[in-house]
């Protein structure tokens, strides 16, 4: 049975949970404001599709070393498909549903969970994929390698952020949790990278035009754009 455990109530102090919630709310508010730019007609059903896929995939805990399991998070996939700000909205829909309907992740800790598993990963993906596309060769394998690497980074960054929040809350010192969290999530990140790359490959093969962070994004095309003219 999946027994996903996002940060429950009680792990974080009120100050840390509140600070994380402020950042999460700010990201969601900005995501809503950006929607008139980012959310074109085709991406309306995509918001639902990504929420559904990420919710489903988060239930599929896969075993990793030492009697531990990991599960997909999905922020990188959401950012690739929707851009980082709409990805924040999708991750919030998923995480809020999990907390309110499935008792997975705390209520006061919801902001921290949105920050660690959604906002951080989505913005990291937006920045790193944008930067990588500018320097890497414009090949499919370079693109997928970039996406996989960023997916791994997003998971480890979320684990580091969780450790920092736990330490700032006085729950457990950073020197104790950070190595353990990074060790486990370095492995979980490999699963995240594999699932993200598989999903992005499938979209590239069927509807490459739906990818927001990729060779088809206007923002990363130079003046000598290789995107099909008049498409």
């Amino acid at each position: 049975m999946p027994l996903a455990l996002h940060i429950p109530d009680g792990f974080l102090s009120a100050e840390v949970a509140g600070a994380a919630a402020i950042v999460a709310v700010a990201a969601v508010a900005y995501g809503l404001r950006r929607a008139d730019r980012d959310l074109d007609e085709a991406r309306v059903p995509l918001l639902g599709v990504l929420a559904a896929f990420i919710f489903a995939a988060q239930m599929l805990n896969f075993p990793i070393a030492g009697g531990t399991s990991g599960h997909f998070l999905g922020a990188t996939l959401a950012a690739v498909m929707l851009g980082p700000w709409l990805a924040c909205l999708v991750m919030t829909v998923v995480l809020a549903t999990q907390a309110l309907a499935f008792a997975d992740g705390g209520i006061t800790a919801l902001g921290a969970n949105v920050l660690n598993m959604g906002v951080l990963g989505a913005l990291l993906a937006g920045f790193a994929i944008g930067a990588g596309l500018r320097v890497l060769p414009r090949t499919r394998s370079a693109y997928l390698g970039l996406v996989g690497t960023v997916a791994w980074l997003a998971v480890t960054a979320g684990a580091a952020a969780t450790s920092i929040e736990l330490a700032a809350s006085g729950t457990i010192p950073l020197v104790v949790t950070l190595p353990a969290m990074l060790g486990v999530h370095a492995l979980i990140g490999i699963g995240e990278a594999a699932i993200t790359v598989a999903a992005v490959s499938a979209v590239l093969a069927s509807r490459p035009d739906l990818i927001a962070l990729g060779r088809f994004e206007p923002a990363v095309d130079g003046p000598a754009s290789t995107a099909p003219a008049g498409a």
């Binding site: 049975m1 559904a52 489903a56 008792a103 209520i107």
Partner: protein, 113 residues
Amino acid sequence: MRIFTGVALALAVGLASAVSPFASSSPDGLEKVAGDKGFLGDGGLAPIQEDSPIPDYSFPGVANGRVATGLAGFVGTCGVFALGYALAVAVRRLRGGGGPNGPARAPDRRARR
């Protein structure tokens, strides 16, 4: 778009309903570390979570654990699809994005640069 949406949604619902009951039940990354380092007991449910409709991804009133998990996955996946879709529709209406400037946006932006 309908085909893509349909296939992707079917895949998600299938994974959540039929595969999730066979997922690993070992503690996940954070839970394992919390157990090992002795702060797992600090965590608990918020009062309003005591009455969660589907606690722990297990549909209430279903004796078979795998069936209860599959049902929870089915309901949850359909639910977040509806929520995400509804949010997108609502945001597009409120932000005035509807109408003719939807798909035509990207070339517009490029031209302005």
